[in-house]
């Protein structure tokens, strides 16, 4: 496992921070960003190109469970992509933070991205980090309770302050690292705090320019409960990709 991994440091993988506004479509945004990043890693599209940024609108309109602005789950988003044999471009399917259920126009447009499958990873932070570093970003669903007052830094919550069982907000895991913190104890003047880097969908003025960090190794806010990712490309044995440090 590399010491650090940050997919933001490779051009064309992680698109700009979006703002879900008054539509509870974090699940669609996380899934769309996951697919976009995996396509970007395989050099198939440039994630930041204007034509592809948020696939989320199509996922909302075509959501298998009705009004996607009332909330949903990333696995529903991936099933929608499989059902529609892919996703149209942003040009064809402009993003609106509102839903016209039953207005699904997916069949009208040429697909510019598709997936072979989607998988749920093991609830093991070391294995999640390994997969993240060798395959690409992963969607996770966390308890968002502490994020209302979060400004910056690494959140390390106790289960009593952030129940890991009550996960209610989906985001994209884009990297990990560790920050050295000086401590009062003369025995260990410096300790290292391992963390996850997560992409939120509440606009770039929130948190660390739209991102936030959670402690890595203590299942902070339930991060290991639902790690899901799409699979793009046939599962042939390929040299795993390597995450930029």
């Amino acid at each position: 496992l590399p010491r650090t991994c940050d997919w933001r440091n490779k051009a064309g993988i992680i698109s700009r921070i979006k703002n879900q506004e008054n539509c509870k479509c974090c699940w669609a945004m996380a899934a769309a960003d996951n697919i976009e990043a995996l396509w970007g890693i395989r050099g198939r599209i440039r994630a930041c190109s204007p034509t592809l940024s948020p696939f989320a609108s199509e996922l909302l309109d075509c959501n298998r469970c009705g009004d996607g602005c009332q909330g949903g789950f990333v696995w529903d988003a991936f099933i929608t992509v499989l059902n529609n044999s892919g996703l149209a471009s942003e040009k064809d399917y402009p993003f609106k933070a509102s839903v016209k259920t039953h207005r699904c126009l997916a069949n009208k447009y040429r697909k510019v991205a598709w997936i072979q499958d989607f998988i749920m990873l093991e609830d093991n932070e070391h294995k999640i980090a390994q997969y993240l570093a060798t395959h690409g970003p992963i969607t996770v669903t966390i308890n968002m309770k502490l994020l209302q007052h979060y400004k910056k830094g690494v959140i390390k919550a106790k289960p009593t302050t952030c129940d890991p069982q009550l996960v209610n907000h989906s985001v994209l895991l884009v990297g990990f690292g560790a920050e050295t913190v000086s401590s009062q104890s003369h025995l260990r003047p410096h300790r290292s705090t391992p963390y996850w880097i997560l992409k939120n969908s509440w606009g770039a003025h929130w948190g660390e320019e739209g991102y936030f960090r959670l402690h890595r190794g203590s299942n902070s806010c339930g991060i290991t409960k639902y790690p899901f990712t799409a699979r793009v490309d046939q599962p042939v044995r390929k040299l795993p990709v390597s995450c930029p440090p």
Partner: protein, 106 residues
């Protein structure tokens, strides 16, 4: 000149100044400063600053908590706007709604 209701407000002056700063920074406007909505949001804001302070003390990492663009929302409003109604793992969405004896409860 006569004291307005807000001048009789027992809340500390600096809180009101910080709240004004919040409104400017995050482009918030409520009914006129003497209105009930403004007063209610000021209460919520004060509660949230205290909550952020408490989180800061409880956090075991390096996180900083404080005034954010969401500081004028109650915890319930915040949950309603951004979170799943049913936290995942409680009642999977794919489950069928099951009627129950009591009317109206599903």
């Amino acid at each position: 000149d006569s004291l307005g209701p807000q001048d009789l407000d027992p809340r500390p002056l600096e809180l009101k100044e910080v709240f004004k700063l919040f409104q400017v920074q995050f482009n918030r406007s409520y009914s006129n400063p003497a209105g009930s909505e403004h007063s209610r949001r000021l209460d919520i804001f004060a509660h949230n600053l205290a909550k952020a302070q408490q989180l800061q003390e409880e956090d075991l990492g390096t996180a900083e908590f404080g005034m954010t663009s969401l500081s004028d929302l109650t915890e319930e409003e915040f949950g309603k706007i951004f979170g799943h109604q049913k936290a995942v793992g409680e009642v999977p969405r794919m489950g069928r709604k099951v009627g129950s004896e009591q009317q109206g409860e599903t």
